[in-house]
């Protein structure tokens, strides 16, 4: 007997064994999906709905013909569990598997491709058998859903919500939440609030962000990194230290969507702009920059592309936008997102090219990005607008000093290099390490003395 024949008949035996001894894992107990565990999982944990699961598998038809194998693609098959992405047999079957488990599944057509089949490989009314490949069959690994692909918020769904619509920013939500830190429950409440303003109820920004991906009735566990939690400052009220990882259990009971920009007329937008500006400024003063960004961002999304305004409206709109961009720039400086800060300053200066704060903040951001020459230009322009600005004067000398230091450093580094390639690499390495930190530190030290920034995230209008 050749090896091919051997595996084939082995497959048939397994299929027969499944039909005979397999456990019926369908909720309605109609023997639509039968399962035999070949090797129990290594960990005692099941995947949850929405989890990203990794499966290696090989699929065969009843006649033993192989129709698919993840090994042919050299990578495990990845999907989100319980969301209808795969045939029913899989959503049911994989949910019963533990990490590292290996099993066989026999799937009736009603739980696979039914009478329609799946051209060109699966004929009508086919029973499918998922089974062993060389390195194990239906080998499972999984992890929670990484909501923003940055590892900051991991979600695991305990109960699926209904439908496909989510709350948007500004939507009013009613939720039940429980917060845990290091196994200790620090918060438990039912609360109604506006997405983006959870902070008012001592709810960290990560919950606001996650809610935008949840559906009505969903019950999930959220793992928040400190950035999406209470950050460096922690939350003394709950006895939470800085940089703490948090776990929340959240149920989205109901929500009402906020109006999208296109659903509002100009008058409404201008009225609301005043309201959110207030809110943004309040957050800013409390040092809650992420929340402030959301509020100022609303002004931009409402008014930046608004056309056909009357002269009066246009004036009001411009002044809201100017204030929003300037304040956003300030927030981004605080959040150390300098490129975004520069972008906001550019937009502010697009509205008012001689704006002193705009120029100054762009200079600051550029200085922190090691663009000394550009930064110097900005500070010089500040002085052209307002010769009395002492802060700008001292920043110029910082720029000059930095430029000089930087050049010297370069010279030293290049001294022993020969090829151009190596030079470039070294420059990159240099700018990434020492220089950045010193520049940042120097700029931070300067900050308290300079009068032209800081507290005036408030009223421009």
């Amino acid at each position: 007997m050749t090896t091919d024949e051997a595996t084939k008949s082995e497959g048939e035996v397994q299929a027969a064994a499944l039909a005979e001894r397999g456990e019926d894992i369908t909720p309605s107990k109609d023997r639509g999906v039968l399962k035999i565990i070949k090797r129990p999982g290594s960990e005692d944990e099941f995947p949850m709905i929405g989890d990203k699961v990794y499966v290696h598998y090989k699929g065969k038809l009843a006649n033993g013909k192989k129709f698919d194998s993840s090994r042919n693609r050299n990578e495990p098959f990845i999907f989100s569990l319980g969301k209808g992405q795969v045939i029913k047999a899989w959503d049911i079957g994989v949910a019963t598997m533990k990490k590292g488990e290996i099993c066989y599944l026999l799937c009736k057509p009603e739980y696979a491709y039914g009478s329609a089949g799946s051209a060109p490989k699966i004929p009508s009314n086919a029973t499918l058998f998922f089974e062993a490949s060389n390195a194990g069959e239906l080998l499972l690994d999984f992890k929670g859903e990484d909501l923003f692909e940055d590892g900051g918020i991991i979600r695991r769904i305990k109960r699926k919500g209904e439908g496909y619509s989510n709350p948007n920013e500004g939507a009013t939500v009613e939720i039940h939440l429980e917060g845990f830190c290091g196994g200790r429950r620090f918060d438990c409440k039912d609360v109604k609030f506006v997405v983006g303003e959870g902070e008012d109820h001592d709810i960290p920004i990560g919950i606001d962000k996650a809610l935008e991906k949840m559906q009505r009735g969903e019950h999930c566990i959220l793992y928040l990194s400190p950035r999406y939690g209470f950050g460096e400052a922690g939350k003394p009220k709950y006895g939470i230290q800085g940089n703490a990882e948090l776990v929340y259990e959240v149920t989205l009971k109901s929500f009402e969507k906020a109006k999208e920009s296109w659903e509002m007329d100009t008058k409404e937008k201008l009225e609301q702009a005043a309201v959110v500006k207030e809110k943004g400024t309040m957050y800013f003063k409390e040092g809650k920059y992420l929340q402030a960004v959301i509020q100022y961002g609303k002004i931009v999304s409402w008014l930046e592309m608004e056309y056909g305004l009357s002269e009066k409206e246009s004036k009001a709109s411009d002044s809201f936008l100017l204030a929003a961009f300037l304040n956003l720039a300030m927030c981004y400086l605080k959040l150390r997102e300098y490129a975004k800060a520069v972008e906001c300053c550019d937009k502010a200066l697009g509205l008012d090219q001689d704006n002193e704060k705009g120029l100054y903040r762009r200079g600051e951001a550029r200085l922190l990005m090691n663009e000394f020459e550009l930064a110097k230009c900005d500070f010089q322009k500040v002085l052209e607008v307002n010769p009395q600005n002492k802060a700008a004067k001292s920043q110029i000398s910082v720029c000059q000093k930095k430029t000089k230091e930087h050049n010297e450093r370069d010279r030293r580094i290049y001294a022993n290099m020969f090829t151009k390639f190596a030079e470039r690499d070294a420059k990159e390495a240099a700018s990434k390490t020492g220089v950045e930190k010193t520049a940042e530190k120097a700029a931070c030290e300067k900050r308290p003395k300079t009068g032209a920034e800081g507290e005036e995230a408030e009223g421009h209008v």
Binding site: Y57, G59, F67, D68, S70, N72, R73, F77, F79, G84, Q85, V86, I87, K88, W90, Y113, G114, S115, A116, G117, S118, A119, P120, K121, I122, E162, G163, Y164, S165
Partner: protein
């Protein structure tokens, strides 16, 4: 004479070192070489080039001859010896010349060609270009990318053969050329594959990116507009072959599956300029739609595709592509969209698509696009096909989904024919609901709110009955069905409860409208007849132009015919209306008799 001049400059340069060649020497060499070619001394030139002693000279100066060489090759007939010599020269140059300069020389030739010569030129130069690229040391990936982009750009303005005859004829050589370009790309694909097996280095990524760009471009042109169905009598369909090669390349470099599931990996190049970014997005949307079509309809590369996805999810993933394709008007693209949509729907069981999917915007937009095609597309087979696909789409939804879809289509279609069709579908669903027990959407209060929409006249008695006749007839038929099928005592559908409203919003204004319209048209007929007696001469009120051609004016006889057919339509509506009223009366009376 020309040969002598060439010999002279060659002899002068033979004794020089490579570094001592001057600009003047280059010029003299080019002029003399060109003259040799023009005067028919290709054989002699070939000899000079093959001479081992001249190796250094040719290495440095040879690329100058590309332009006159290409010109000469096109001048000579196919069987001319001189042409053969020229081709040998080209071959030699590819071997001997400095690759960097020759590369630019060849590219320049491709850039300069246009019109009917494009394919010929490209096919002539592909081989030397490949030789040179394989020899290139630096910036190889960039150069391969540049070559492929340049070639595809030059081909793009050419019309893509569409009918069987056009494909067989391949007048401009496009079919042949495309497949030659794939062969040209193959060694580079192999290189990427080999390197992938070893390890992934930064440099390989570059070559891979260039090949992806080439494939994406090919998907958009020529494949998106090409005919890709199997054609009888053509064994090796050139575009099917090309499509197969392109999907193969993508699979081999490990990008096929990620591209088909592109929404999972949202990677797109960053453009400073918003305009470029938009163009890029649009182009890649076209290419990806075409790729999906190749895979799911024509089954190219489908053997690599995981067979565990649910049909609903496949439909969801393809909906974006379908929308992109259905927005276009070219038959070639539109039909791909319809085919892709159909193939996704055929994978599903009836009633299996959950109504939740309607929360995705595509699921609402795409049926509206279908409606546009079936009402506005000038090609009849497209209109018919889109109607049959709409029915298929309706069939796949669960009851609540069907209900929501009907509502949406009634509100958005703005076309009496389509509305009539939807109303007929509603009738079928009610019929089903009356035989099942748990159907809450086509009985009771949900149905009543749908009937409000159906059993009404958009502009009351003033509604244009002729324009809306399809819709009105369907509505009346539905009402007749309800009254016959559902007794007042059962009132399963709820129609008896809402009869007063129907009378007020629909039947009464319809009666008034019918009387007004009939009177109006009868008067018009009378008018026309009298006019005919009075003045036979044509006094046309206005003229109609269809695609630039003036239609002949309607004769009075034709006008009368139209008016009569309108009257006939009104009669038809009136007879059904009368029947409905009669039924209502009989049934209500029967109930009253019972009660009394």
């Amino acid at each position: 004479m020309a040969v002598d001049e060439l010999q002279a400059i060659i002899q002068r340069c033979q004794i020089l070192e490579e570094a001592d060649f001057k600009g003047e020497d280059f010029n003299l060499f080019q002029v003399a070489g060109q003259k040799c070619l023009e005067d028919g001394y290709a054989a002699q030139l070939l000899e000079v080039i093959q001479n081992e002693k001249n190796k250094v000279i040719i290495k440095n100066m040879g690329w100058n001859l590309i332009s006159p060489l290409v010109r000469c090759i096109f001048m000579y007939k196919q069987e001319d010896d001189k042409r053969e010599h020229c081709l040998r020269i080209l071959e030699q140059l590819a071997q001997l010349c400095n690759p960097k300069e020759l590369f630019l020389g060849l590219l320049e030739q491709i850039e300069q060609t246009s019109g009917e010569q494009v394919c010929q030129t490209v096919m002539l130069l592909l081989q030397p270009l490949q030789t040179v690229l394989l020899k290139l040391q630096n910036k190889k990936a960039y150069s391969v990318g540049l070559s492929l982009a340049m070639i595809m750009n030059q081909l793009t303005p050419l019309p893509v053969p569409y009918t069987k005859q056009q494909i067989q004829e391949d007048k401009l050589g496009l079919c042949q050329c495309c497949n030659a370009v794939v062969d040209f790309a193959k060694p580079f694909v192999n290189e990427v594959v080999k390197n992938m097996e070893k390890s992934s280095e930064y440099n390989d990524m570059e070559l891979k990116e260039e090949l992806i760009k080439f494939c994406m471009k090919s998907l958009q042109y020529p494949l998106l507009t090409a005919q890709l169905e199997q054609l009888e009598g053509i064994e090796e369909h050139p575009f099917r072959h090309f499509a197969n090669e392109i999907t193969d390349i993508l699979w081999n470099i490990g990008e096929l599956i990620p591209l088909v599931f592109v929404h999972r990996k949202g990677k797109s190049p960053h453009w400073e300029n918003q305009e470029f970014a938009d163009i890029e997005r649009k182009n890649s949307a076209d290419s990806l739609a075409c790729l999906s079509y190749l895979m799911f309809v024509q089954h190219f590369g489908v053997e690599h595709f995981p067979v565990v996805f649910s049909p609903s999810y496949l439909l969801l993933c393809n909906m974006t592509h379908i929308e992109v394709l259905l927005k276009r008007t070219e038959e070639s693209v539109l039909s791909k969209g319809l085919d892709l949509f159909e193939s996704c729907l055929l994978r599903m069981e009836d009633n299996s698509l959950l109504h939740h999917y309607l929360e995705f915007r595509d699921f609402i937009n795409v049926p509206q696009d279908l409606v546009k095609i079936m009402t506005l597309c000038p090609m009849e087979h497209m209109r018919k096909k889109s109607l049959s696909i709409l029915q298929l789409f309706i069939d796949k939804f669960d009851t609540e989904g069907k209900y929501a879809l009907f509502r949406c289509l009634l509100k958005t279609s703005n076309h009496a024919g389509v509305e009539g069709y939807i109303i007929k579908n509603i009738k079928d669903q009610i019929h089903l609901a009356l035989t099942e027990y748990d159907n809450i959407w086509f009985t009771g209060h949900h149905l009543i709110s749908l009937l409000d929409l159906v059993l009404s006249l958009p502009e009351g008695a003033e509604t244009d009955l002729l324009q809306n006749s399809d819709r009105i007839m369907a509505s009346l038929n539905l009402l007749r069905y309800l009254i016959i099928k559902d007794c007042e005592s059962d009132n399963q559908t709820g129609v008896w409860t809402t009869l007063g409203k129907i009378e007020q919003n629909f039947l009464k204004p319809l009666r008034v409208g019918l009387n007004m319209s009939k009177a109006h048209y009868e008067a018009e007929i009378k008018n026309k007849k009298e006019n005919r007696k009075e003045a036979h001469s044509s006094n046309t009120v206005c003229s109609v132009t269809v695609s630039g051609e003036k239609m002949p004016a309607m004769t009075t006889g034709m006008q009368l015919q139209v008016l009569h057919s309108a009257l006939f339509t009104f009669d038809l509506i009136e007879s059904v209306l009368a029947r409905v009223e009669e039924l209502i009366e009989v049934k209500t009376k029967a109930v009253m008799d019972e009660n009394s």
